[in-house]
């Protein structure tokens, strides 16, 4: 066999490389470079905008892992993820199953309604929701009180016990449409003859879904879970607009923690970009670790 040299192969595929080049340049500028610089900054004692930046090795990392607020935020991020992803996956699947039914005439209408929050600006949703959940004339409290479910208004966003579940609920509502779309796409890969064959074999109702359809769409589920899990760990705009991490850190997830330390604080001290980068790198590695685990799980599921 006539084996071409590497340079010859590259030359032959030169137009492919030319077309890929813009993407590579942009990725380098806006992904690779910032990641590399954040690793470097994480080794500095640096406010982020003075000339003075002192190399301190891993001291920022040491400080971060010894900071209880860092770990509280870290854990809270995962609580957020575990509290929202299963709900979105299950709810999204159920809705998709209903809306995938060709007999349902209003399916496009419901799909649009459920998808609408997805295309609404998240900051707007965050601000509007602070009014919706306001204990003072907010519609949520008005409903609860008018139906005698509560006798006094609930300060959903001001009470440390209710703030995180409330934000999680808003998050699920905001992004449920996209999960539903993922599931619809997955369900539409199931050929009609599979449904027909299953029915001939007597599989109907939940048996059809559990034993026939679910195994077919399972590989999609892994991808959806992966995407959803990473998404649930990136909730900065919603939390910043709804609570800014308060009250007293009750809703401070990792991104809010990083933001708080990266900029001048309300208390008026110098920011710590170096420290914030260390926390960010640590967090990025943690998310990457989860992604890899899920990837391995996906590969294993495919083999099964």
């Amino acid at each position: 066999m006539n084996k071409k040299s590497l340079s010859k192969q590259i030359y032959d595929a030169r137009w492919c490389y030319v077309f890929v080049l813009p993407c590579l340049i942009l990725t380098g500028m806006f992904v690779i470079y910032p990641i590399g610089m954040s690793w470097y900054f994480s080794l500095l004692d640096w406010s982020g905008f003075t000339k003075e930046a002192k190399f301190i090795g891993l001291q920022n990392y040491y400080e971060a892992v010894n900071d209880e607020f860092f770990w509280d935020a870290f854990i809270r991020s995962f609580i957020f993820m575990f509290g929202t992803v299963p709900v979105k996956i299950v709810l999204g699947f159920i809705i998709a199953v209903f809306l995938n039914n060709q007999v349902l005439k209003l399916a496009p209408f419901f799909r649009t309604v459920i998808f609408m929050p997805v295309v609404t600006a998240i900051a707007i949703i965050g601000i509007v929701m602070t009014f919706v959940f306001s204990p003072f004339n907010g519609p949520a409290n008005k409903f609860l009180m008018s139906t005698n479910l509560t006798s006094a208004p609930i300060d959903f966003l001001g009470n440390p016990d209710t703030v995180l579940p409330t934000v999680m609920g808003v998050y699920v509502w905001k992004w449920l449409g996209i999960t539903m779309m993922y599931w619809l796409a997955a369900l539409q890969t199931v050929p009609q003859d599979v449904y027909d064959a299953a029915k001939i074999d007597g599989a109907e109702g939940y048996r059809l879904w559990i034993h026939i359809i679910l195994p077919i769409v399972l590989p999609f589920a892994i991808v959806i879970i992966l995407v959803e899990a990473v998404g649930a760990l990136n909730v900065f705009p919603l939390i910043e607009t709804m609570t800014a991490g308060g009250p007293f850190f009750s809703s401070e997830v990792m991104e809010i923690y990083i933001f708080r330390t990266a900029f001048v604080t309300d208390s008026g001290t110098m920011p710590r970009l170096g420290y914030a980068c260390a926390a960010g790198v640590f967090w990025g590695v943690a998310v990457l670790f989860i992604t890899v685990l899920q990837g391995l799980w996906m590969r294993r599921t495919r083999r099964i």
Binding site: S134, P135, D155, G158, N159, P160, F248, F263, V264
Partner: protein
């Protein structure tokens, strides 16, 4: 069963109020009726460049923005330039200005982020002196009250880098109240300073009368600095004599140089806030609203009292001109006499000129005019007590009436100039640059106590005090390691008479 009445305040109204407050904060609109007349802008003292250009200006907005947005078009037209103004909340300035400085895109004239040591801005080369752009600078500076321009504060290496058109003689925690509700509760804050017990009692009575329609007291509780401001100022009124300003001044007792966060006065102030909550007098949902939102609810009759600053006067004057409210001094613990409050020397809203700016001649010309008596009168007539003009004679001639005049009189009576460590030793600026407010800060500790997430006022404040002590020690140590000649003794002012202004003669005695 008697059905509980509902307060007729729609969400839309609340949103409208909050948005209006926000708009005022960012100087989104200008009530032209606030102005006494057109500006009579004098010709420049020396010829200005004829090349024109665009001058960009950023500050913390509020009533300042209202003024600038009226003046700038007139000034720009008279000088053949354009002016782009951004009035933003401090939270935004804290983010935007540092990034813009790094990118080389900072506005021509800007305010430094809160807590940023001016000495750093000068040494980093971010700013340039105003000396070349203000004709007869020394003569012009002489028009300002003593103590506004000081080495280490706004003057460095013999040059003037920061210009102040406003005084810092104000507090942000006055008692602002609904005249109707307070009178129905049987109290008149104008009759004399209210005590903590009276505040509690009035809040209870207002809440009781409100029967779910309105409450005794409101605060923007998710804006954490509000908690600290209230406790800090109330603590001072109660006798915890100390400094104001950034971390290296605030909460420090200059008699012994130590933080006084765990003092009885601070504890009593925190207890008052907790009691207002446990009495049921606090507006429901204070933890999920910021200060402008809380302020916007007052004229709508949602609460009887709020502890806020004189900037409310302009906002309420515009949004609710018919609403009757009063302004009074901060309350005092039972059986105690109110003590003076202290401000640091210097002005406020210091304006810095970007090192890269080519608009210095125009910026200097404009600020020079604003520093004249006529300019200061214009300022006082619009901005009033929100950001008082720095020239007291101009304020007197501005003919202010109503709450603005009352607030200014109150500040004049209550406030004294206290010691400022950075005036004594400019190396304190290096400490400021090295300082980090410990986590959780006092503001957050008070918020945590209020929400019940933290328990035990005394223990929490003691812990917090120790954290602040340690943080300042570390900052001093770091500054010394960098060659700064500074010790914790620089925070001790043994010759401080708490009942008089601390001026230049006192510093020279040290």
């Amino acid at each position: 069963m008697k059905k509980k009445k509902e307060l007729k305040i729609s969400r839309r109204t609340v949103m409208k109020g909050a948005l209006a407050a926000g708009a005022m904060m960012s100087a989104g609109s200008i009530p032209s009726k606030l102005f006494a007349g057109e500006f009579n802008i004098p010709d420049p003292l020396k010829p200005l460049p004829t090349t024109g250009g665009n001058m960009r200006w950023i500050d913390s907005g509020d009533m300042k923005g209202v003024f600038w947005k009226k003046l700038f078009p007139e000034y720009a037209a008279s000088r053949g330039i354009t002016i782009e103004y951004d009035g933003l909340p401090w939270k935004e300035i804290n983010k935007i200005v540092p990034i813009a400085i790094r990118n080389g895109t900072v506005h021509d004239v800007f305010q430094l982020p809160l807590g940023m040591d001016p000495g750093v801005a000068v040494s980093e080369g971010w700013v340039q002196p105003w000396d070349d752009y203000i004709e007869n600078l020394d003569e012009w500076l002489a028009n300002f009250p003593a103590g506004v321009y000081l080495p280490g504060v706004n003057q460095f290496n013999g040059k003037t880098y920061g210009l102040c058109l406003t005084a810092n003689k104000r507090t942000g925690t006055c008692l602002l109240y609904s005249e109707k509700y307070m009178s129905e509760a049987g109290y008149d804050p104008q009759a004399g300073r209210m005590t903590y017990s009276e505040i509690r009692d009035a809040a209870k009575k207002i809440t009781k009368r409100g029967n779910g329609q309105y409450y005794g007291w409101i605060i923007g509780g998710n804006q954490v600095n509000r908690w600290e401001d209230v406790v800090h100022t109330f603590g001072q009124v109660a006798g915890a004599h100390g400094g104001r300003g950034g971390f290296t001044n605030r909460h420090i007792n200059f008699q012994n140089g130590k933080f006084q966060i765990a003092s009885d006065q601070y504890m009593e102030a925190v207890e008052l806030l907790l009691q207002l909550k446990s009495d049921g007098s606090a507006f429901p949902g204070v933890m999920s609203m910021n200060a402008p939102q809380a302020r916007a609810l007052m004229p709508q009759g949602a609460a009887g009292m709020i502890f806020q600053g004189p900037w409310c006067i302009g906002v309420w004057g515009r949004d609710a001109p018919e609403w009757k409210y009063g302004i009074a001094s901060e309350p005092v613990p039972d059986g105690k006499k109110a003590q003076p409050l202290y401000i640091a020397e210097g002005g406020s809203n210091t304006l810095w000129l970007s090192a890269n700016s080519t608009m210095g001649p125009f910026a200097g010309d404009l600020i020079r005019f604003m520093g004249t008596e006529q300019g200061q009168i214009y300022w006082a007539q619009t901005v009033g007590a929100a950001d008082p003009a720095v020239n007291p004679e101009a304020v007197a001639k501005a003919g202010l009436t109503g709450p603005s005049a009352q607030a200014l009189a109150m500040f004049a009576e209550n406030l004294l100039v206290g010691p400022n460590p950075i005036v004594r030793n400019k190396d304190v600026g290096v400490v400021a640059a090295k300082s980090r407010v410990p986590d959780p800060s006092l503001a957050l500790v008070i918020q945590g106590l209020y929400t019940g997430q933290l328990k035990g006022v005394e223990a929490q404040l003691k812990d917090c005090n120790q954290r602040y002590e340690d943080a300042l020690d570390q900052a001093v140590e770091a500054a010394r390691a960098d060659g700064a000649n500074v010790t914790r003794d620089d925070w001790v002012f043994p010759n401080w008479d708490i009942n008089s202004n601390y001026g230049a003669s006192k510093y020279s005695e040290l």
